[in-house]
Symmetry: C2
Subunit: 591 residues, 2 copies
């Protein structure tokens, strides 16, 4: 037997018991006549004590050989500590060791196995199995496990059936790039790994399964940005005989359950906002609503007074930073302006108006606008003495995006984005289609199976090109703290409407048939009304913990080049493997 208790379990009431513990040596403190060793496992740390007086010389000598991360089994008696450690749950006791077995030795780890570590990112990823010994990393992985269990328990309680859909499916050039898998038994043909189980979950609705979910890996072969992974996890869900309202309520219920059971946080009912309002008030379809600072348009009071920048702008729009007038020196504002002018944001400039005592204002554009006019600005924002109004101008869409960045940055600086505060929001009524100027075609805003709103169906079937741009969909996102946690839609369940949609998206009849023929066919055999949602599970973990990086919640993540540094994958394969698959590497072209 390796242990009677784990290293986080023993308390003052266990004093006098004989116990066996196993774990890793966190570190030792050798006082010459006495030695203390901290033994660690997943559950905690317990102190072992070896004293020259009471211990055999052999045992004492052996204890002295213990290095960091050695694996040992210690047998002994629980005694009360002289100097207790109130910081850890086992701090009242220690183990007077009578037998010590070294189960395995350890080389000195390449970085410190502690809450804070000296290991850089690459080093920690190469030795991820050691990084995972660190308590904060381990806690993340355990949190994730709990979150997935609670998801399953809740959805099962709501009659959802978890169905595993296949991983070896068919490549569809639409959407992101697929990872493909050459077939040995069907030479010249390939499977693709799923970007999502979208079509399968719709087929399950056509099967009558009614309420489906799956916590499932999905794959996208994209150039990886900072916080993307080629494989990621979704909570994927679909329901039949439901309206958008039913779906929102069901998954609001799930989200509340998850917050309650993992964080003991009770969320209020989630507010809803249309996509148009989100863009108008926040310049983003995923606004961080932990704080206000909504956009206010100034066209009617800022244009036509001879300030050419505003006069020539499509829009003049700003935010009001409460109480910040005194916190921003001219130099600070210059720096903030430069920050806005970086290519990542691309603002041309930034105009401020500080509200000062007695109805006066301080602003670099003061000569173009009288205090009376500036007072009308202040009134629009509800700004009062000490507040600072920040104004951008230019082309509508671009300017709103820039102002969104500024708002978030001001939120950060003003401490308004508390990671312990949670502000969920349903963003609804997304446009159905997005016109892409470059490719001169429509793209699906959500995906090609999304249904227009009932009121827009007729217009979709019979409208002209301009009409298509105005179609609204039964599509929705769940946003928490400015992060998109999930998104979904009611689906089209009518073959004609689906064909029309493929048509608008630029599919020829043949392409639609080749890629989605099985789904279009299925629509002809009694497809029920249905819709669903998918949550980014990695991101949900991160948001619940108030952190940004999803990598912290993935046991074995890949780096930005899609490499697993620990196992060194991908890697070359044998010629014989290639032969069996009937493929060969393309020759490098001579330039």
């Amino acid at each position: 037997m390796y242990r009677t208790h784990n290293c986080g379990q023993l308390r003052i009431e266990n004093v006098g018991s004989n116990v066996v513990l196993s774990g890793w040596v966190q570190g030792s403190n050798d006082l010459g006549h006495m030695m203390y060793t901290n033994l660690r496992d997943r559950y905690g740390i317990t102190q072992l004590i070896f004293s020259k007086e009471k211990t055999s010389q052999d045992l004492f000598d052996k204890a002295r050989t213990l290095g960091r991360e050695f694996v040992v089994k210690a047998t002994g008696k629980v005694i009360e500590r002289h100097s207790k450690n109130p910081k850890i749950p086992t701090g009242d006791i220690e183990i007077e060791v009578t037998e010590l077995e070294i189960l395995n030795e350890s080389k000195t780890p390449p970085f410190t196995i502690d809450n804070e570590t000296d290991g850089g990112d690459d080093l920690r990823m190469t030795y991820r199995y050691l990084d995972l010994r660190r308590k904060p990393v381990q806690n993340n992985i355990i949190f994730r496990s709990k979150l997935s269990l609670e998801t399953r328990i809740y959805l099962n309680s709501q009659n959802f059936v978890e169905v595993e859909t296949p991983f070896l499916i068919k490549s569809t050039p639409e959407g992101a790039r697929d990872f493909v898998v050459p077939s040995r038994m069907n030479k010249g043909q390939f499977y693709a790994l799923p970007q999502s189980p979208q079509t399968f979950k719709q087929l399950l609705m056509i099967s009558g399964l009614d309420r489906y979910f799956q916590i499932v890996k999905c794959f996208r072969d994209e150039d990886l940005r900072a916080d993307r992974q080629p494989e990621f996890t979704q909570i994927d869900c679909e329901m039949s005989y439901v309206t958008q309202e039913d779906i929102l309520n069901t998954f609001e219920g799930l989200t509340k359950h998850l917050f309650k059971t993992t964080l003991d946080v009770e969320l209020e009912d989630f507010p809803r906002m249309t996509y148009d309002d989100a863009m108008r008030l926040y310049g983003s379809d995923k606004p961080d609503t932990r704080f206000g600072m909504q956009f206010v348009e100034l066209n009617d009071v800022a244009k036509g007074t001879g300030f050419p920048v505003f006069d020539n702008a499509e829009i003049v729009v700003g935010i009001c930073a409460e109480g910040q007038a005194g916190n921003f020196s001219n130099k600070d504002i210059k720096k903030l302006t430069e920050w806005m002018q970086r290519p990542q944001i691309g603002a041309k400039g930034l105009v401020y108006v500080k509200v000062e005592a007695g109805g006066t204002f301080k602003s670099p554009v003061g000569k173009f606008f009288s205090d009376e006019v500036l007072q009308t600005w202040a009134d629009k924002f509800g700004a009062k003495e000490g507040d600072m109004i920040l104004v951008l101008s230019g082309e509508d869409e671009k300017t709103r995006k820039q102002l969104n960045e500024l708002r978030l940055e001001m939120g950060n600086r003003m401490g308004l984005r508390d990671p312990k505060k949670f502000s969920p929001l349903w963003v609804v009524d997304f446009p159905l289609l997005e016109w892409d100027e470059d490719s001169e075609r429509f793209h699906a805003m959500h995906h090609p199976f999304t249904s227009p709103k009932k009121a827009d169906m007729e217009r979709m079937l019979n409208g002209d090109h301009e009409t298509m741009k105005s179609l609204r969909a039964d599509a929705y996102d769940l946003v928490i703290n400015g992060v998109e946690i999930g998104g979904g839609s009611v689906r089209i369940h009518d073959r004609d409407l689906q064909s029309k949609n493929f048509d608008l998206l630029g599919f020829t009849k043949e392409e639609a048939e080749a890629q989605f023929g099985f789904l279009l066919g299925a629509f002809e055999y009694g497809a029920p009304p249905h819709g669903g949602i998918a949550f980014g599970f990695d991101r949900l973990c991160a948001v619940l913990n108030g952190v940004n990086s999803i990598r912290d919640f993935i046991a074995f993540p890949k780096n930005n080049q899609g490499r697993d540094m620990m196992i060194d994958a991908p890697s070359p394969i044998d010629e014989t493997q290639l032969d069996e698959l009937g493929i060969e590497m393309a020759k490098e072209e001579v330039e």
Copy 2:
């Protein structure tokens, strides 16, 4: 709103309520003045009634257009039936329909959507979404969902953490063939899909995660036999600081929990049998212990009497089929002998001895053996009047395998393999290594990370070639009703022992380093003693339901050519996709 109730919900106490139901039309019965329509969903069937008297002509006419599998929404009042149907839970009531909306029409399905269907295998697979509408198929998928939830609930209650391990990993030529995934960002290199998360779960133990599990897809590119799938699901588990005994007890607990919660079956404690005993008594490492009919060796009483077939055989061994003497005519026995002589089994012949009244025997080998000798045979089997002894002879291993087939066949014919009876068994003490005559090398009986038994470690490090064949491992299988449900082992956690094992398995130092360097490296940083098990989840579903085919429990299975008939995958991909990946199809060689 699409429904107030589902189609399996309404009872006599709901009479008088106004309700809305949605579902599929199972079928209609048109009596001219009256029409009955069965409406079906996942939860059941409810009868709708349209009567010419009470219904508007429009509604009545619309009802008459309903075809099989139309999707409708019906509003109406619950009334008591005149002629009740005790076979269904809703059989006391029907719905007097006042409004009817056809949500979607349906073409006539290509096969009958009913418990028994007229659709052949290929047709049902091509229209799997319709096949899944059939109750027995749907029930299997729902059962699977419940089984996975209960697995998670139990393992979580035992402190197991579910950790997702990566799908894009590294190819290892050892074991079965990998599916590979070309990397676009790392041209010329490939990921592999995991055959199991074996190395990752061991690394998680080295990480200190202590108790890991995962219900996870695994992939093997093998030529598919009848009941194999290229992608299949495992319950994958690993524990630290445990002995084989701890592992067996933990997963016996899991298995009992699953039987209890899904079938309400209480299993007794599982018996254990060594691999050697299983081979000796059943000629199989996965004996069906629902019935006895154990092997009895006859060498001492059957050889040396001048019957050349036995005299020249390495072994003479048989089984006793209780009470079967009267059930097998000479013709039956001839047929049974021919069945045994088919190439799949390959027996040379089959000797029977029928025990008749008054200590006499009937047997074709009677002239070689006196009744007195045959009585000693009968005594060994405990055979009595009316029993039939069946005897095979030949080379030891081969003959036992053949006799295993005969035993199972007799079990079938005698009705001893009741699918509602469950007989679990731990088979333990598997050999560590298997000598392969063809390749002249050892293979790992379980896998290359399996630990020899503690008593055999010294012999493994220092023994000669013959010694290696006799090494026993801490490896075990869970067998239920003759089906291997799971298997696992205690792992090596010492780098030297692991190196020795790779050595015996024919890996050069360089190969071992290239393929498993990260694991060998990890062993040097404090690997704890650990071990685990993996259950075949698809098979577990099948065994619990007393059926053989795992395909019945997979929502979208592939056929024997690895094809998904419904979505028609695998399929050719675009040239541009190949270009991006830097691969091309090999030219067909001219013969």
